[in-house]
């Protein structure tokens, strides 16, 4: 323990020292205020003609050293006119707001291998300021970005630790492979799932490249868009310390399941032969299993800089406990960072950043919330019988997923997971001649993960089943331990040269040329083995103390390489007309021979119309830029890189080992595993975009909009089925199919005058995207949405539930149209075809009446119709910020409208299928006799009514919702009350507190990580929304 503290203290000291090195003494003192007397924080104070400078504190004050008398100081801040003042011992500068507050277009954005003012951007980039994310729970960047930018759809899937999100930028372009955006942090490629490694508190800015004309410069893997994260750097002339601590609680809303009385009544209605179990309890599984959980965040950062050195160092800690009462689940991570830039002379700049991380977590046993909501309340939590322990799991129905969640969750107590990693980069930037910068940057991203666990002996089965404890084969499992580890090592080496040239103050050129190579390498191993030497002693729960058989052993090693040569030319004429052209030639080891290489061009143009004379008379319109872009981008994202080898699979360790000889011994076998496709080539995504940015009424109203079309052709397609009749086994990689996305997005915002005391910024963004299947697969047959094996969806529904046809929207639900519920036999008898035959002869009163859509007198596959879509017609994000006299308030919300959710769980939550528990009160909604309801069918035994097994419109619900996903109220203590501090702010943050929806299930925001995207949007007992409330304190010194 003492060692641990020592380590931590010394670590912090090292950070401090690194920062102090770069900090120097100062002499000039002063303040920066606006015309109405308010302190301006963050204003830049520079000695004219020199690189010496600093920036102002929260109270507007600054101190600057080594300034010679009579020198001029240049004081500037975004949105204000720049002022020049002669240096003196005390300087009080007053800044006047710019007449035309076009601060926004002056903001610098990262467009990939270079930064530029937003004014010059011709592609589609959304930006999120780091300061807007301050104080949000530091669990995952993905979820806090929800609703912040148009065209960026973020779905939280599950409430598990660590939390996961699905991020789709402008829809998706593959039905099989990853469509996640690429994450770039300070030029380091973190891959398609790198958001988890970023400390929220370190973020200065996020730029999201949404179209290919912008993203193409990143080439391979950028086909899902790019999220560029810029982390905080030390600021000139100021050493500062920032700390932030917060504490809070995360909890779920109780879905309120039925108690034993209602459950028993429903089971009796479902099956008159149902016998109430002798030991029937009345267990509230939700209350037994779920609790609210603590969340702790702490961050400290140090930053500062001189003209030669600046640096930033931070340490962040997050811990969130699991929401289960047993199993001891938690997740904690430590993220550290050092950014260091050194400018020894005007020709050279070097620097590095290092981003080590440590994570560890415990998963909650072998359970999730589904059994919590499905298990029958009649089952007691613990059953005391000889040889059974707390991990034994009993069920009265005998159905897999209706079994005691407490027992399953309890098994988590012996599992542990650790992950450590470092993301780092070092660069050298040389100014060869004026305006020519050559840069070489080496990035590494390496990580190691380890997990180990022990599953005790337990018993699974029916509560009242005969069981002979002396018969070992009756015990479901022996105890066992597992041990897995994995290592990744990725590096990227980038060389770029950037040259800018300005001709006659009118023609500006900027040329970028670069070369990049990248390698990803990973290896790992795993083993699990039965039977501890001493199952009663946790010290023997490790692989080396296991003495039974190995259950499995495994190992893998893989390497992939990529490379590219790229170039970009920017030209503008008088900052009025802009042209950008990109070309990138990519290479990847995933393809064969010449197919490794492919060229991807892109380009965009912009025109600031308001700079034209003919618009100068229109005073209300301050700024209007029209943009158009076209881009092509390559995708090499395959679910398995071995794309071109025809290979065999040896099977020494599976059941299909063939045994010959007497005595029988296992004989090694080879089977044909997968045929090659040497012709496989890059998938090509092609984007077209037009849009505009505009500012109105003293730039207080801003409106921008985009219209786009994305097309992915030569889709990388894994032919899982194969053409067995041709001897082509499944698994061949092919370029087959094309997917398009068409959509638009718009942002409207309105903000206060810069000089107002009440400051506000209200904005709303709107997006719409529809994916289309242009062609697919070997023959262009429709793609049916099946979920074979996934909670037995296809079996329970007797077939597919979505259908995607060539030329049409992807992922529409496809099933039988429910007309009503048959109230009596007369109605069944009256439902006949033209010749008087009953259309549903097997129906009973209380069954659904289905539409015979093709009028052939029978209800079969041919009667299926399209019934709504999972793709929202409109997505809305809402962001509000208000500041007044030290108080700040922020709210953001996100919603989806005009789509359907397939509520598969209705079968359980309403109808109690397979003996599952129902929502409290749901039994009053089922059909209970003539005239009772047309909404829901009668309670029947599983499988008793074949007519009820169809996937019908009954399962579809309107999925519209709007969620206030973030509410924050803060108060900054006035500077004069805390003279020794730069900043002191207290705040309260509440996440996901209010959801406006009519969706009757648990949660309308659905993404099924295990289902293909064309069969997604199925509520199988979705996790409820995790709500959090935290209180926090930020200190700046």
């Amino acid at each position: 323990m003492r060692n641990k503290i020592l380590k931590q203290v010394s670590l912090i000291c090292i950070f401090c020292c690194m920062v102090i090195i770069s900090w120097a003494q100062m002499i000039v003192k002063g303040t920066v205020r606006s015309a109405n007397g308010e302190a301006v924080s963050g204003a830049s104070i520079l000695q004219k003609g020199q690189k010496k400078g600093t920036s102002s504190n929260a109270d507007g004050s600054f101190t600057l050293s080594g300034i010679s008398a009579g020198a001029m100081l240049e004081i500037s801040y975004i949105g204000f006119e720049t002022t020049n003042i002669a240096a003196a011992a005390t300087v009080d500068a007053v800044l006047v707001p710019k007449a035309n507050q076009l601060a926004d277009v002056e903001i610098v954005v990262d467009k990939g291998y270079g930064k530029t003012k937003r004014n010059a951007v011709t592609s589609v980039i959304s930006s999120v300021k780091g300061s807007d994310l301050a104080g949000m729970p530091n669990t995952n960047l993905g979820s806090v970005l929800q609703g912040r930018a148009s065209g960026v759809q973020i779905s939280n899937s599950g409430g598990a630790n660590p939390p996961t999100q699905k991020i789709l930028i402008r829809g998706f372009t593959s039905l099989q492979n990853s469509t996640d955006p690429l994450v770039i942090m300070d030029g380091i490629n973190l891959g398609r799932s790198g958001l988890n490694f970023v400390n929220l508190a370190d973020i200065e800015n996020i730029d999201i490249l949404k179209d290919a004309s912008g993203a193409a410069i990143y080439g391979s893997d950028a086909s899902g868009g790019v999220i560029i994260i810029t982390t905080k750097k030390g600021k000139l002339g100021r050493f500062q310390t920032d700390a932030d601590v917060s504490y809070g609680s995360a909890f779920y809303k109780d879905p309120k399941m039925a108690g034993a009385d209602e459950y028993i009544a429903v089971q009796k209605r479902r099956n008159p032969a149902y016998v109430v179990p002798a030991n029937a309890a009345n267990t509230n599984w939700w209350k037994e299993s779920v609790k609210s959980a603590n969340q702790i965040n702490a961050n400290i950062s140090f930053s500062g800089g001189t003209e030669k050195l600046n640096s930033f160092a931070s340490l962040g800690y997050t811990k969130s406990d699991g929401n289960y009462t047993v199993g001891g689940a938690y997740w904690q991570k430590v993220l550290a960072r050092v950014n260091f830039d050194f400018t020894p002379n005007k020709y050279l700049k070097v620097g590095f950043n290092l981003n080590p991380r440590f994570e560890n977590w415990v998963n909650a046993g072998q359970g999730d919330l589904m059994p919590v909501m499905r298990t029958e309340p009649t089952l007691p939590v613990f059953v005391s019988r000889p040889d059974y322990n707390q991990f034994s799991q009993f069920s009265q129905t005998g159905i897999d997923r209706n079994s005691n969640p407490i027992a399953a969750l309890s098994r988590g107590i012996y599992n542990k997971n650790y992950a450590v990693g470092i993301i780092g980069a070092t660069y050298l930037d040389i100014t060869l001649i004026k305006n020519l910068h050559v840069r070489s940057q080496m990035n590494i991203n390496t990580g190691q993960g380890y997990s180990a666990g022990y599953t005790p002996r337990y018993y699974n089965g029916n509560l009242d089943r005969n069981f002979d404890p002396t018969d070992p084969s009756s015990l479901n499992k022996s105890d066992n331990a597992y041990n897995n580890s994995n290592h990744t090592f990725n590096w990227i080496w980038t060389q770029t040269a950037n040259y800018s040239y300005r001709l006659k103050d009118a023609h500006s050129f900027n040329l970028l040329a670069g070369y990049e190579s990248r390698k990803e390498y990973s290896l790992g191993n795993s083993a699990s083995r039965f039977k501890s030497q001493d199952p009663t002693n946790a010290d023997y729960y490790y692989l080396n103390y296991m003495q039974g058989d190995f259950i499995s052993t495994g190992g893998y090693e893989s390497q992939d390489t990529w490379g590219a040569i790229f170039g970009r030319l920017n030209y503008n004429y008088k900052e009025k007309y802009f042209i950008e052209g990109n070309a990138r030639r990519d290479a990847s080891s995933r393809f064969y021979s010449d197919n490794k290489y492919a060229l991807f061009p892109s380009g965009s143009i912009g025109w600031i119309v308001t700079k034209e004379k003919f618009l100068s008379s229109l005073k209300q319109l301050n700024y209007l830029k029209l943009r158009a872009g076209y881009g092509e981008i390559g995708n090499s994202s395959l679910n398995d890189p071995a794309s071109y080898l025809n290979f065999l699979s040896p099977s020494f360790n599976s059941v299909n080992t063939v045994n010959f000889g007497n005595p029988r011994i296992g004989s090694p076998i080879y089977v044909v595993a997968r045929p090659s496709n040497p012709k496989l080539k890059w998938e090509r995504d092609i984007d077209q975009n037009i849009g505009f940015d505009s500012y109105w009424f003293e730039s207080r109203l801003y409106v921008n909009a985009e219209l786009y079309k994305r097309k992915a052709k030569d889709l990388l397609f894994t032919d899982y089925v194969g053409r067995e009749e041709l001897g082509i086994p499944g698994g061949q990689k092919l370029n087959l199919g094309q997917i398009s996305n068409k959509g638009w997005e718009a942002t409207v915002g309105f903000k206060s005058k810069q000089s107002n005391q009440l400051k506000y910024d209200l904005s709303a963004n709107f997006s719409h995207n529809t994916p289309y299947l242009d062609s697919y697969g070997l023959t262009g047959e429709p793609v049916l949405g099946n979920a074979q094996g996934y909670y037995r969806l296809t079996e329970e529904l007797q077939g597919p539930y979505t259908k995607s046809e060539v030329g049409q929207e992807i992922g529409r639900y496809w099933g039988y149209q429910k007309v009503k519920v048959f109230q009596n036999q007369t109605e069944i008898n009256a439902y006949t075809d033209k010749s008087g035959n009953l259309i549903q002869p097997n129906a009973k009163p209380g069954d659904f009446k289905y539409q015979d859509t093709n009028g052939d007198g029978v209800i079969d596959d041919k009667d299926r119709v399209y019934m709504g879509s999972r793709n929202p017609k409109l997505e809305v994000g809402l962001n509000i910020r208000i500041e007044y006299k030290g108080f700040d308030f922020a709210m953001s919300g996100y919603g989806r409208f005009g789509h359907n959710v397939m509520w598969f769980a209705k079968k359980f939550n309403y109808q109690g299928a397979l003996g599952a528990n129902i929502f409290a009160g749901a039994s009053s909604k089922a059909w209970s006799g003539e005239g009772s309801t047309d909404a829901n069918p009668a309670y029947v035994k599983d499988g008793a009514s074949p007519d009820l097994l169809r996937f019908s419109s009954w399962f579809l619900e309107k999925g519209d919702y709007f969620r206030i996903n973030n509410l924050q109220l803060g108060y900054t203590i006035p500077a004069h009350l805390i003279p020794k501090m730069r900043k002191l702010r207290v705040y309260v943050n509440a996440q996901n507190m209010i959801t406006f929806t009519r969706y009757p299930g648990i949660n309308p925001e659905i993404y099924n990580a295990d289902l293909p995207i064309n069969a997604n949007g199925v509520d199988i007992s979705q996790y409820p929304v995790k709500k959090t409330i935290i209180v926090g304190l930020s200190i700046g010194l």
Partner: protein, 525 residues
């Protein structure tokens, strides 16, 4: 510093660095070895690897695990009048127990697809071997034998395909072009099966020629046994008779004196076995056969799949056949032969409380991980050859010869000889003998009820359907105390059977899709 100086100081080194970086990352950088993957051309380099490739062709005969291939085969037998799904505590017994007759058997059905896929994987591996082996660095004798083994196995796979799916996409090479092949008529598939088996039988060694370590490889006897079965299905009784006769006259095979010994783990590759898949439990690997454990009662550590019907039990009783009844049906509550215990009962868990004795493994002999048991699976056995001979002889009008073969099978289990039978009565006696002798094994009953025609009508059509005799028995006549209880699994199985449709399984939708309709669907699906 002047610009020219800067150039000298920086430009050259930097440009050189860029050039090196570019040159150093040329083509080779993008040719990365893929670890852990066996490229076929590089892998088949000696006798061991050539044999491994041959062994791979056997891997699909019995399915590769309980869930791929093996379970589907058990389900086929569950669809007959001999079996139930049996497992009455999980949520799919009805679908599985009467697979052939409900809406669950549609072109999207995962089981129908899995069996199809499993069998074509077998075909593909055999074809691959026949392409690769002629150029492999092994002796000519080994080439000849392994190719003959592959031909035998290919015939086996196509036979299973044609029985269950009808007309087949037929190919005997590794097509390189993406041209899609339409289905060939069943008679062409049978012609290929006969051709492969004839060639295999002339090239394969006799059973006693193999070294001990090769026990279990395809033999001449195995090829002839399968060939006689194929002739029977083709209704080519002349060839069926001569082929079966040649096996009988070879004197390489005989009935075991004790019927029950056939399913002992201590009796692998017996005198009665013509072809058999070996299983042993390696405690390090999950080898062995799990189909066994799946059939045991849940109270015996099993899953309770594949329960046997009281209709089958009645058939044994009607014949006074106690030996085979006890060795076929393990009834809950009855004493377990050879073990000092009563078979544990839990009626609520099983549709009929009758388990499949031929898959039973005594507690003392159980082993292996995940219930994978060391019980070999006999694919072709001599008793069947005798009955094929008897049936073919009966059709060829050789009644006395037929009776001799029939009675040889009956004598082993102590049944009185049949005498004086001819015509339909003789055939019915032989078919009943097949049901009793081969009950539950290798889909014999399911195949027979779809093959046997009585008065021009297939047997399945008189057993199943709303007025079928088996359906009538279960819904109105039966007094069996277990089967007549309410069950999750519907005991009115067979009501939904449709003649002209359910004799075959559907071609998987994905296959039809992949062929753009060149491959057609079976009637009624």
């Amino acid at each position: 510093m002047k610009i020219s100086q800067i150039k000298n100081k920086f430009l050259l080194p930097v440009l050189t660095m860029l050039l090196i970086a570019t040159a150093g990352c040329k083509k080779e950088f993008f040719d990365k070895k893929l670890y852990g993957i066996q490229d076929q051309l590089a892998t088949i380099k000696d006798e061991t690897s050539a044999l491994a490739l041959t062994n791979g062709c056997y891997a699909f005969v019995d399915g590769t695990d309980w869930y791929s291939g093996r379970f589907e085969r058990m389900m086929l037998e569950c669809s007959s009048d001999d079996g139930w799904g049996g497992n009455d505590y999980q949520d799919r017994p009805t679908e599985i127990g009467s697979m052939g007759f409900t809406n669950a058997l549609n072109p999207d059905n995962g089981y129908a697809q899995s069996l199809f896929d499993n069998l074509y994987q077998g075909v593909r591996n055999c074809n691959n071997l026949m392409v690769v082996m002629p150029n492999a660095p092994v002796t000519e004798a080994l080439k000849k034998r392994t190719i003959a083994e592959a031909k035998f196995l290919r015939a086996y796979y196509y036979f299973e395909l044609v029985k269950n799916y009808g007309d087949c996409v037929l190919y005997t090479n590794l097509p390189t072009s993406a041209n899609l092949i339409p289905r060939s008529p069943a008679k062409d598939v049978y012609a290929q099966i006969v051709k492969d088996l004839k060639e295999a039988s002339s090239d394969l060694p006799e059973v006693d020629v193999y070294a001990a370590a090769d026990k279990g490889r395809a033999t001449k006897g195995a090829a002839l046994g399968l060939l006689s079965r194929a002739y029977l299905f083709m209704e080519d009784y002349a060839n069926a008779e001569t082929t079966a006769q040649s096996i009988i006259q070879s004197n390489k095979y005989d009935l075991l004196p004790n019927y029950g010994d056939l399913w002992s783990i201590n009796n692998p590759w017996s005198k009665e076995s013509l072809f058999e898949i070996g299983y042993f439990p390696d405690t390090k690997f999950s080898t062995g056969v799990r189909a066994t454990t799946m059939t045991w009662a849940t109270s015996d550590g099993g899953w309770g799949w594949f329960g046997l019907t009281s209709d089958l039990e009645n058939a044994f009783k009607a014949e006074g056949d106690d030996v085979r009844r006890k060795n076929t049906i393990l009834k809950e509550g009855d004493a377990v032969e050879g073990e000092n215990r009563t078979y544990p009962a839990y009626n609520g868990q099983h549709t009929s409380g009758r388990h499949f004795r031929k898959f039973y493994v005594p507690i003392a002999d159980r082993g292996g991980l995940y219930g994978n048991q060391p019980l070999n699976q006999i694919i072709v056995r001599f008793a069947e050859t005798l009955l094929i001979y008897a049936e073919a002889a009966a059709f060829n009008g050789k009644n006395p010869e037929a009776l001799v073969a029939l009675n040889r099978v009956r004598a082993r289990v102590g049944l009185v000889p049949k005498t004086g039978l001819s015509g339909d009565a003789l055939k019915l006696a032989i078919w009943n003998e097949r049901r009793l002798e081969l009950a539950g094994e290798r889909t014999y009953r399911w195949d027979d009820i779809r093959r046997i025609k009585i008065n021009g009508k297939k047997l399945i059509a008189s057993l199943m359907g709303p007025n079928g005799s088996f359906v009538k028995y279960n819904t109105t006549l039966s007094t069996d105390p277990v089967e007549t209880k309410p069950h999750r699994e519907s005991t009115s199985k067979g009501t939904e059977f449709k003649e002209g449709k359910n004799e075959l399984w559907p071609i998987p939708r994905t296959v039809i899709q992949a062929s753009n309709g060149t491959v057609t669907q079976n009637n009624g699906y």
